[in-house]
């Protein structure tokens, strides 16, 4: 089982992101379960959602406490929420930011998790460019596909266009593709730096 926890704020599509991720996995023939951290969500308040992906029936109903990947949609949560609690020692971290881990003061993550599993992605900027609104969720799913390989970019794009009709869906799918490429690029830079 692969478990994902998504952190963001009310209004950023945190719950929708988990749902779309589960649909993408489902479309690829896997079992998936997405659910929000149940609460009275308000715009701007910290929100958490979860997605489990497996090849067998998912029976558990507990919140995801030991995720394999954490997606952070809103970087301002860093000092407010224990974002990486329970994250697997070989887990993945994907943060929506145009800054680096060092600039965010998160260099300590390099000691806790494999370096290639840690990426940042300027998903808000990508969304602004492609969608015209600062909603990073769809773009981050493209980045997630690249980072973890749990789902294909095509499945993500299809799930996005299934969820958002018409041009909005197409633009969000384009944002996902751009974020996918951005992560590929970042991973290439990393391995090049490693080789040097």
């Amino acid at each position: 089982m692969f478990q994902v926890r998504i952190h963001g704020r009310g209004g950023q599509g945190v719950v929708t992101a988990a749902e779309i991720l589960s649909v993408a996995a489902f479309d690829e023939g896997r079992q998936a379960q997405a659910f929000p951290s149940f609460g009275s969500e308000r715009t701007g308040a910290p929100v958490v959602s979860y997605c489990r992906i497996d090849d067998r029936e998912i029976r558990t109903r507990e919140p995801v406490m030991a995720p394999d990947a954490v997606i952070v949609q809103d970087v301002t949560l860093i000092n407010q929420v224990d974002l990486f609690a329970g994250l697997s020692p070989v887990g993945y971290v994907l943060i929506n930011t145009s800054r680096s881990f060092e600039e965010l003061g998160l260099a300590e993550l390099f000691l806790r998790f494999p370096r290639p599993h840690l990426v940042t992605c300027p998903a808000t900027e990508i969304a602004l460019e492609h969608v015209g609104r600062p909603l990073p969720n769809a773009a981050l799913l493209g980045a997630f596909a690249s980072l973890t390989g749990q789902i294909t970019l095509d499945a993500v794009k299809k799930a996005i266009t299934d969820h958002f009709a018409g041009a909005v869906g197409e633009r969000n799918a384009a944002a996902a593709a751009a974020a996918f490429d951005a992560v590929v690029h970042q991973e290439e830079e990393l391995s090049r730096a490693d080789a040097d």
Binding site: R5, H7, A18, E19, S22, V23, F26, D27, Q31, A32, Q33, A34, F35, P36, S37, F38, G39, S40, V48, I58, R59, T60, R61, E62, P63, V64, M65, V81, D82, L83, A85
Partner: protein
């Protein structure tokens, strides 16, 4: 068709396939998504003929539903928690009048203190109302139970409540095999009311009944529920024949063969329990699970049979009778009377407290060691409770307990998922 879909939407789609003619509801979390989706289908004409009636309260919702049912319409509504309490008088009336309304109960805790999260307190509050109460383990079963519920309700002229865990199921997106219209139409014939308000053939429904007949009327209601004990498994079997799916029925057993300890529970927590049981099985413990699908009528005989080989039964429930203990546990104890089987009560998950596999594993280990107390509150923060007790002992004006406890907890760190 197998679809990755939110539980609430799966229910709405399935309810629509059942062709309700009147839907009336008042929104309340976590039921809202169901009713919104049904409302959209009526508005778009996808569910027709059907009248969607916006009412001003839950009391009106159930009153309209039973009025519609008495006029011969297939009626549906949904609610939760305080909403159920607000419609309580009409809930009893629907059962007392024998009107086959179907209602989804998106199980949620009851205040005070106000809490929107899941437990089974609301269902327990109407336990004795005369409604049939069926509990769903998954969204698939919740959807399937609605089709069976209309069939059962209308056959027996008894209202049926499908209980599904609020948020945990209603807001979970997972694979649900949605039925098609032809299958549902073949399974669920048009509503043929046993009693109907018809100007051409006038009758009174709801007359005053004095001491000379009230007991007989109530006993008749009891007999109808006993009839349901036969019809529920028969309808589930027929549903299996039509769809190939094992949904509904009275009880479900999992790995109970040769089990010394059997855990009994209702609703979605059964999934987490099964995972924990698999792990304890791997560790060599002889443990199994029995899920109760039909809580009312209570299938005492089926429960006895399902628990026959066990020396210890652990009843884990998301509600309790304050000042007494487990509600389901009491029923289970009654069913096991004279069997010599030990019954342990575990109250868990109140007000949405996550029931984790790890906690369950520890609980089952303790059970296997024979160290379980008679009544246990899973993951209870004992120090917080003791602190408040001490405060109450020391000063008269100790203040409201809920706020005191929150303040104490606020001093501790808050992690995600809480």
């Amino acid at each position: 068709m197998l679809t990755q879909i939110e539980g609430s939407r799966a229910i709405a789609e399935t309810v629509a396939l059942c062709r309700p003619e009147v839907v009336c509801a008042y929104p309340i979390s976590p039921q809202t998504h169901i009713i919104e989706a049904v409302g959209v289908m009526v508005k778009e004409g996808r569910l027709a003929p059907c009248e969607f009636i916006n009412v001003e309260s839950e009391f009106a919702a159930m009153s309209v539903a039973l009025g519609a049912s008495a006029a011969g319409a297939r009626a549906y509504t949904a609610t939760a928690s305080q909403g159920l309490l607000f419609m309580m008088e009409a809930v009893y009336n629907a059962a007392g009048l024998g009107l086959p309304v179907v209602m989804t109960l998106a199980n949620r805790a009851i205040g005070a203190p106000i809490n929107i999260w899941n437990d089974h307190s609301d269902a327990m509050a109407v336990r004795d109302s005369g409604w049939i109460q069926l509990f769903a383990e998954t969204n698939q079963e919740a959807a399937d139970l609605h089709v069976q519920a209309f069939r059962l309700a209308e056959e027996l002229s008894v209202p049926v409540m499908v209980c599904m865990d609020g948020f945990i199921l209603t807001h979970a997106v997972e694979g649900v095999d949605l039925l098609d219209q032809a299958t549902v139409d073949a399974f669920l014939p048009p509503y043929d009311p046993r009693q109907v308000l018809d100007p051409a053939n006038p009758v009174s429904i709801g007359a005053m009944v004095g001491p000379e007949a009230f007991q007989e009327v109530r006993y008749l209601a009891h007999l109808r529920q006993l009839d349901a004990l036969h019809r529920i498994p028969a309808i589930a079997e027929e549903f299996f024949g039509a769809t190939g799916r094992r949904s509904g029925g009275l009880v479900h057993s999992y790995r109970t063969e040769d089990a010394d300890t059997i855990v009994v529970a209702m609703g979605s927590v059964l999934g987490t329990i099964k995972d924990a049981v698999d792990i304890r099985r791997d560790a060599g413990e002889r443990i199994g699970v029995v899920g109760i699908t039909s809580f009312r009528p209570f299938p005492a005989q089926a429960v006895r049979a399902a628990l026959a080989g066990a020396s210890q039964v652990v009843v884990l429930e998301k509600a309790f009778s304050i000042g007494h203990g487990g509600v389901l546990a009491t029923d289970i104890s009654m069913a096991l009377q004279g069997s010599g089987c030990v019954v342990r009560e575990v109250v868990a998950g109140l007000g949405g407290r996550p029931i984790t596999r790890l906690s369950l594993e520890k609980l089952f280990y303790k059970a296997a060691q024979g160290e379980l107390e008679e009544l246990l509150f899973l993951d209870l923060e004992v120090d917080v409770v003791e602190r408040e007790r001490e405060r109450m002992r020391l000063e008269r004006r100790s203040g409201p307990s809920a706020e005191n406890v929150l303040r104490d907890l606020g001093a501790r760190s808050e992690g995600p998922g809480r």
